[in-house]
């Protein structure tokens, strides 16, 4: 994982330097604003223990899912993934470059990713949803 992160970080850094040199004189990268962690962008569903159906998680379940995913990202097994994940393609932090011609560029970071998830409705139909799932005529949330 660290090796991969280093490779990606170096690649990203090289990219910034290339842009800078190509444009002439670049000012030092500004300090990008820290934003929400990537996990908050994703829609998550859980399988209801009682009904066996997928549904939106409760706040507690969502926190547990986020923690598990964060742990997985940091795990050795994840690092051995042969294909770089989207998180690994994107740097952990945004970087900004102001170019000599007045152009400004910002390399986006992991929190910019849009995630799609699967949700199954009461009829067993699979739906593809972003964050808060709002499904027409086939809702999936059940009060408990």
């Amino acid at each position: 994982m660290r090796t991969m992160q280093c490779v990606v970080a170096l690649g990203a850094m090289a990219g910034v330097l290339c842009v800078s040199s190509g444009a002439g004189v670049a000012e030092p990268a500004a300090s990008p604003q820290q934003k929400q962690p990537a996990g908050l962008n994703a829609m998550r569903v859980v399988r209801d223990a009682a009904t066996g159906e997928l549904r939106a998680p409760t706040t507690e379940e969502l926190q547990a899912l986020l923690a598990a995913e964060q742990a997985a990202r940091q795990s050795t097994a994840f690092a051995r993934s042969a294909t770089p994940t989207a998180q690994q393609v994107l740097p952990a932090q945004r970087s900004i470059v102001r170019h000599a011609n007045g152009m400004v560029s910002m390399q986006l970071s992991q929190e910019s990713l849009s995630a799609l998830k699967a949700a199954t409705d009461a009829q067993g139909k699979v739906h593809v949803v972003h964050d808060t799932p709002v499904l027409k005529a086939q809702p999936q949330l059940e009060e408990k």
Partner: protein, 548 residues
């Protein structure tokens, strides 16, 4: 425009590609980062499906992925190739456990680049390249550069359907938008995700309202400049961060202000259907609702009448509907509160008391879908927001509601035909604002859920118009090497080159092909999407085609 099946159209487009007709313009290229043997390179044999001729899983994935890229490439104009970093390897177990299907987004944004349409405004890199007419990050597309020069990352979970990864589901790689029951339509899904990467998204965080490079370069993005809060009468680039945070949950009051989408909305969207307070006149209004997975759908005939509070027979102050309800609701619409028990339980209790329908008042802002199952329920149920529920209660007795169809108003728009953006009562990062609202009907490609009625293989609804609004030039239809100058997408999103490709299949002989294209041109002319000169160029180009 919809005279042929989507399967035939998919097959036609495949054949057209084999014939080498240059119907596509902007090149959108996949940078395949999968290692040998997995993902896009999976050698597992597969039978061709839905117009996808691939004979391995990997081939089918590549075909479907490239088809989506080609479709967008046929609509949007750029002389700079768009680079998409993609993979189809299985996601790690933790992401599978979270039912993650895909992750995608733009890789960088630019402002104040050469030929930028608006100064001090952020644009997604692919659009910035198109406007600039040059690659703003040349030669940095590979892994050695961290893909810094690529434009979009789009990774899909190749492990879907495995024992530990959303079992029972499977990707559908057909090109005809016709998946089986358990199939997830990859083409629709990918068209949606690439749409975000091409600029259908803002780059602000709605929870703090701050621009992406605050404080050094506090510029809005082009999407914000078209995001209008009709309560304030201002677009988001004119709002303070605090106002943006509030606007992000101003349900039903945030719209897309761009002229192209607004102009095309009446041609695509149907009449508004929804729940309205009809009495007393002083509180008459349309209500945001959530529908139920149990019982019949609410209609203009089964969901109309007087609202009565569903009070417990055991405790007069209890209105949660979780126990027997007084017969005061008989023949009326019972209003009960969310909480304590399942939604279907509440409706069953109201039904037992004789209610004709049920309104469940949320205990939080906004509304949600009502899950649950009970085959004995024969009356409809809708949820209303906490605020609307409180309003109704405050005016009881004497409140009447009804599901109405309003032909004077479009589904999913405000009174001025501005298309609503998705603005739930609670901010959903990644979804709020960066999608069309779910109240649009027919469903739109860029709503937060990929709905089964979408047909992105042939139609991208109002999405192409939004791209025009943010500055994307629209590609023209080319037949062989002949440029018709006709926009390759109609105002309602039909992709004209798909129709012409269908002609190549339906009419294999040249004269027949010309006749078919003439028929397509006549259809466009009738709809007033093109003029007579445009139609003539289409016919001439079809006649000049070496071979259809």
């Amino acid at each position: 425009m919809k005279r042929t099946s989507s399967l035939l159209k998919a097959a036609a487009l495949s054949c057209t590609m084999l014939l080498g007709l240059p119907v596509y313009a902007a090149q959108i290229k996949l940078i395949n980062i999968d290692p040998p043997g997995v993902g896009f390179n999976d050698p597992t044999p597969a039978a061709p499906v839905g117009g996808n001729p691939g004979t391995t899983i990997g081939e089918q994935r590549l075909n479907a992925y490239q088809r989506a890229l080609d479709l967008w490439g046929s609509i949007l104009k750029s002389k700079v190739p768009i680079q998409v970093v993609g993979s189809f390897s299985a996601f790690p177990p933790a992401l599978c456990a979270g039912n993650v299907l895909a992750q995608a987004g733009a890789l960088s944004i630019f402002s104040n680049f050469p030929h930028a349409a608006k100064a001090d405004t952020w644009y997604a890199v692919a659009l910035a390249n198109s406007m600039a007419g040059e690659d703003l990050t040349p030669g940095q597309d590979g892994p050695q550069d961290g893909f810094a020069g690529a434009d979009i990352v789009a990774q899909f979970n190749g492990g879907v359907g495995g024992p530990a990864c959303i079992p029972g589901s499977t990707w559908y790689y057909g090109l005809d938008n016709n998946p089986p029951a358990a199939g997830i339509d990859f083409l629709n899904t990918f068209m949606h995700e690439v749409g975000h990467g091409l600029g259908f998204a803002n780059f602000i965080t709605e929870t703090d309202g701050l621009p992406p490079a605050f404080p050094d370069f506090p510029y809005p993005d082009i999407y914000e400049r078209n995001t209008l809060d009709i309560s304030l009468g201002k677009t988001w680039d004119q709002l303070t961060p605090a106002q943006i945070v509030l606007s992000a949950t101003n349900t039903g009051k945030v719209v897309w202000a761009g002229k192209q989408v607004t102009r095309s909305a009446p041609d695509f969207l149907g009449p508004f259907t929804g729940l309205r307070i009809t009495a007393p006149a002083g509180i008459a209004r349309d209500l945001e609702t959530g529908s139920a997975s149990f019982g019949p759908a609410a209609t203009t005939t089964n969901f109309v009448g007087e609202v009565v509070l569903g009070t417990s027979t055991a405790a007069p102050g209890v209105t949660d509907g979780c126990g027997p309800i007084t017969p005061a609701v008989a023949g009326k619409i019972a209003l009960v509160d969310r909480g304590i028990c399942g939604f279907a339980v509440k409706t069953a209790n109201a039904q037992a008391a004789g209610a004709k329908a049920v309104l469940i008042a949320n205990n939080a802002p906004g509304t949600i879908g009502l899950g649950g199952a009970d085959p004995t329920i024969v009356i409809p149920t809708l949820m209303v927001s906490l605020g609307d529920g409180t309003l109704i209660k405050a005016n009881l007795p004497g409140v009447s509601v009804g599901v109405i169809v309003d032909p004077t108003r479009l589904a999913g728009t405000d009174a001025n035909n501005h298309v609503l953006l998705y603005t739930p009562g609670v901010i959903a990062l990644g979804s709020s604002i960066s999608h069309f609202d779910t109240s649009a009907e027919p469903n739109l490609l860029m709503e937060p859920a990929i709905t089964p009625t979408l047909k992105a293989a042939t139609n991208v609804d109002l999405t192409a118009q939004l791209f025009k609004d943010i500055g994307w030039p629209i590609e023209s239809l080319k037949i062989h090497r002949c440029d018709t100058k006709v926009p390759n997408v109609t105002p309602v999103g039909d992709i004209v080159s798909v129709e012409v490709a269908q002609c190549a299949i339906d009419a294999p002989r040249k004269l027949q092909f010309v006749g078919c294209v003439t028929h397509v041109a006549a259809g466009l002319l009738k709809q007033r999407y093109i003029d007579l000169g445009d139609a003539a160029r289409m016919v001439v180009c079809s006649a000049l085609a070496r071979k259809p």
